[in-house]
């Protein structure tokens, strides 16, 4: 078990870095697609297209650019994590009731103020669930990192496959599954705590 801990730590770190980057890029793209209606289909199409590339192929392509190592898997995870975040941000912002948007405008809020004080807070539950989906996805996709020389829990699984050792596979797979379930749970309770106004 003790030899697993550094791997779990590395796995989490990779997912964490990827998520932070994906959230930043995803929010920017989501807001852009909301503010510039004409750009919305293009941005969302782009994010969807990324999602459809098989992970093995995407990682192989990225490896050509970023070489072997953790950077490649992080970039890969970011690209996969974008779609749920971008799409949920866009949906969340667009579904803010026109009455509330109208009121905010009529009160004399600038576009940025409306976004920060009203629209993003109201879209938050949806954005947050997008982030949740991304994290859970990333946790399992990060396993693929082992194929391009990255660390994490992919290593024991890969070893297990190579040596046809079922127990070794499980040693890698179970922590990934547990983490996914745990994250889902923790994030949901954080969400409830943060969104006091929804009844």
């Amino acid at each position: 078990m003790t030899d697993l801990l550094p791997l779990i730590g590395e796995h989490l770190l990779i997912v964490f870095i990827a998520t932070v980057i994906a959230v930043i890029i995803g929010l920017v793209l989501g807001v852009m697609s909301y503010w510039m209606r004409f750009a919305a289909p293009i941005i969302i199409w782009f994010a969807e297209a990324l999602q459809t590339i098989p992970s093995l192929a995407l990682l192989a392509l990225l490896m050509i650019i970023f070489g072997l190592g953790n950077a490649t898997i992080i970039v890969g995870l970011v690209l996969y994590a974008l779609l749920p975040i971008v799409r949920n941000t866009n949906t969340g912002l667009s579904t803010v009731s026109p009455a509330i948007r109208d009121a905010a405008r009529g009160m004399g809020m600038s576009r940025l103020q409306r976004l920060l004080k009203v629209e993003l807070p109201l879209a938050f539950p949806l954005i947050f669930s997008g982030i949740k989906i991304s994290i859970v996805n990333s946790l399992s996709i990060a396993v693929m990192g082992v194929l391009i020389g990255a660390g994490g829990l992919g290593y024991p699984i890969y070893r297990g496959i190579q040596t046809q050792n079922f127990a070794a596979i499980m040693r890698g797979a179970i922590p990934v599954m547990v983490m996914a379930v745990l994250f889902d749970f923790v994030m949901s309770s954080i969400e409830k705590r943060l969104v006091k106004w929804a009844k």
Binding site: D102, M107, G108, Q113, W197, A198
Partner: protein, 330 residues
Amino acid sequence: MINRLLEPDSGEISIDGVNIRSKNPVELRRSIGYVIQQIGLFPNMTVEQNIAVVPKLLKMPKEKWRQIVLELLELVGMPYEEYADKYPSELSGGQQQRIGVLRALAASPPIVLMDEPFGALDPITRDSLQEEVRKLQKRLKKTIVFVTHDMEEALRLADIIVFMNEGEIVQMASPEEMLHNPASDMIRDFMGRHTGRNNGQPMLFAEDLMRTNVLKVPYSLNTLESIDRMSRREVNSVIVLDEDDTFMGTVTLDTVRERGKAGRKIGELAGDNVPLIDRRMPAQEAFDLLIGSRADYLVVLNEDRTVAGIVTKTSMAKAMGDALWKAVLS
């Protein structure tokens, strides 16, 4: 259009002689209160945060806007301690729109736009909110531009009604003027119910039904003296006035007998079980109210809440008789 959410195709709108097109729309909107039909409170903010939106946009210091929130909530009878930290979803529709109105007033704008603010509320809540808006208006002296499809609402609240049809002003007049001299058949139709069957006849209001010779006593009068005055006038009820001559309540002889103690002030017994109406309430409504309620009379108040008179069954019968004979003879 007044707050430039829409831009006019032609013409110009000026506020105090300044064309609004020459102003920054965001600045302009902060100087104009805005209430919309769908209420549009921000669900992610508490009552206090909602009311403080514009003051905060104007970078008012915290102590100042907190004071404003406190006073405004007080004005509509929603105690700060109880409501300030609630979210809109925890309030009833009527309470939400009250907050909507307060939000529009918070930065003390000289002009407030209300776009069918009470259209989505049930009739009872609408009535009480109309009353509150009127009180607030009197107190705060705002110019309120109020859009409505409800003629009754317009007649009740407006100093000047601007009747619009397909973007054109058909008539702009005081409610009385519009009732008496509607500029078109369409307006006449709209007024229909309110002009009643007496086409062309001057309409009767509560003030035409009331009698003005009423026993009024200051709240500080002692009870014995009050009884004395009542018996001298041979009435069994008296109107109690506040320090500033405004209406405080009514006291009946029975109440004094039951609860009165020698040396106590009459004001302590004043109750509010008599309906209060406005001078300009249409006579028909006053009639229905008097017949429908168990009260012996209605108290008619002036705009400043001083007592104009009372409507009793006798005074009403007399006024209606007069009107009827006039109509028959003419």
